[in-house]
């Protein structure tokens, strides 16, 4: 009996010296398996406060309001942010809000295009380019561009992505600076991102701002959220999954209005299914940390 105990103890101590490649393999598998077999695990999603605030803020917008959606992410952070973009666009279009997209990252241009395309292709909404949405092209400069949008949008953008002059687009009429928008929604994965929007535009010109961002950015953005400079925040993949669910429920409960096609079924988004892979990996890491601590504790006792 004692022999078994000593053996277990020995294994646990050895665990502390585990080759890190072993951890790598387990982490890889814990992500891979739920992705290949998504229906093995199904975990319900609960809404957090900050996501709810975002939803309520956007839900308060009226028909014909103008919303600037800014895209600051690329292919590598697409799994986290893209589901948010799609859900936010769906939410806005379902309310008949006019959407203006602007990429501040070179890759953001493609992301904006993909997101709009996805919403248009779902045929869920009766939307037309230049009537319900306009896509602005990418301009280099980061915060300078934000500053420019804040003071004089037309000095930076003269054409949209399809090289149509902004003066010829009816929904651009009266849109000259950031204060002409009723809301700014920022989808960001780094710098420039929501902090720049706060610092260079929205704070100064008093335009409400909400943001969806990668998990890592949240701790930096939280002080702004707490002080109300950013109204609610969608935090990483879970934030995306929560918002997706809220929009899914909202679209299903909505009385069919003129913006929506009643004969198309609403499909749930992608973030929800990715959450199971995420959950398993997290649990695995916590298990690792606990095992590592047991090993550390036993080792320390021994050396003492």
């Amino acid at each position: 009996m004692t022999k078994i105990f000593t053996n277990i103890k020995k294994y646990l101590i050895d665990l502390g010296k585990l080759d890190r490649r072993f951890i790598f393999i387990l982490i890889g598998l814990s992500v891979l398996i739920p992705l290949i077999k998504p229906n093995w695990i199904n975990i319900p999603i609960k809404t957090t406060n900050n996501s709810q605030i975002v939803f309520n803020e956007l839900n308060r917008l009226n028909e014909g309001d103008r919303v600037l959606v800014s895209f600051e992410y690329g292919a590598s952070t697409k799994p986290e942010i893209h589901p948010m973009s799609v859900a936010v666009l769906q939410h806005l279009f379902s309310k008949g809000v006019k959407v203006y997209t602007v990429p501040l990252w070179p890759e953001g241009l493609m992301m904006a295009k993909y997101a709009i395309q996805e919403v248009v292709d779902s045929k869920l909404f009766n939307i037309k380019e230049h009537v319900d949405y306009v896509s602005l092209p990418y301009k280099a400069g980061g915060e300078i561009i934000i500053r420019g949008i804040a003071t004089d949008l037309r000095s930076i953008f003269t054409q949209d992505v399809n090289n149509i002059l902004l003066n010829e687009i009816p929904m651009m009429e009266g849109v000259n600076r950031v204060s002409d928008f009723d809301f700014v929604f920022d989808l960001s994965a780094g710098v420039p991102g929501n902090a720049e929007w706060v610092q260079f535009a929205c704070d100064e010109y008093n335009v409400p701002l909400s943001s969806g961002c990668t998990s890592i950015m949240v701790t930096d953005a939280i002080p702004y959220v707490e002080s109300g400079q950013i109204r609610g925040i969608l935090a990483g993949m879970p934030g995306a999954a929560e918002y997706e669910q809220m929009v899914f429920n909202h679209l299903n409960s909505l009385e069919k209005n003129k913006y929506m096609n009643s004969n198309i079924a609403v499909v749930p988004g992608k973030a929800t299914s990715r959450m199971s892979a995420q959950s398993i990996a997290h649990v695995l890491m916590v298990v690792f940390i606990i095992l590592g601590n047991i090993s550390y504790y036993l080792l320390r006792r021994r050396t003492e």
Binding site: V31, L35, Q229, R274
Partner: protein, 240 residues
């Protein structure tokens, strides 16, 4: 056709980078060097076409470039400063480049002074107000935040010895900082895992027959080769 080659490229490069997890190996080395070369070329091209061409030449020769700017003579200055920068290549006139650097450093210092004072310092001080209309719990939270901020700032005192009461306060400050670091770390875990999800989704997609089983085939060949190299390294005669 090009699309298919592209898919195989993506799979090969992705797996080469992942092979770093096993250890440094020729696949990783090759991928790393391709990456350095391609990205340097990419950024250089982008810098030229997205910054210098429209923002500088677009203002100096608006009709020719057609970037939507009107003629602006002041942009002769950045042109001069930029050319000064290139004098780094000459031994005799390399001091000219210092002028360009001086412009950048001075301008950024002045700008950041204002921006950080306004957006970080003053707004953070402003947001330490307490909201009495909330519940008792939220008021309690506000008080904890106040204590945490004050203690955290005490930790950053440089010109006082951290002993006695000050030492204790700064220790409490460290506790708050540690909680914040732990929270950031926990958050990061989530973000990083989701990046991996993105890569794996793509690899899974490319395992399909329409891409001729790109992922499993490439993976198989790579494992074989890396295994072979490892074996070859081990069979070298060892001198004792």
């Amino acid at each position: 056709m090009y699309e298919l080659i592209g898919v195989w490229c993506i799979v090969l490069l992705t797996l080469s980078i992942f092979s770093y997890l096993y250890g440094d190996n020729p696949f990783y080395k090759a991928a790393e060097h391709i990456f350095v070369g391609v990205s340097a070329g990419y950024i250089f091209t982008i810098t030229f076409w997205d910054t210098i061409w429209p923002n500088l030449f677009g203002r100096l020769f608006p009709d020719y470039v057609g970037a939507g700017f009107s003629f602006d003579l002041t942009y002769i200055f950045p042109l001069i400063l930029g050319v000064f920068m290139l004098f780094r290549l000459s031994k005799k006139y390399d001091w000219l480049s210092r002028i360009s650097i001086a412009y950048i450093v001075g301008m950024m210092a002045g700008l950041k002074f204002y921006v950080f004072l306004n957006s970080n310092l003053l707004t953070q001080i402003k947001s330490s107000t307490v909201n009495l209309s909330g519940t008792y719990f939220s008021i309690f939270n506000d008080i904890i935040i106040l204590i945490g901020v004050i203690c955290g700032l005490v930790y950053f005192f440089f010109s006082k010895e951290h002993t006695g009461t000050l030492g204790k306060i700064s220790r409490i400050g460290v506790y708050f900082l540690m909680i914040k670091f732990g929270a950031s770390f926990g958050f990061a875990v989530m973000g990083r895992i989701s990046l991996l999800i993105g890569r794996f989704e793509e690899l899974i997609e490319f395992s399909k027959p329409e891409y001729y089983y790109s992922t499993p085939l490439t993976l198989f060949i790579m494992i074989k080769l890396i295994g072979y190299w490892a074996y070859k390294d081990n069979t070298k005669p060892l001198q004792k």
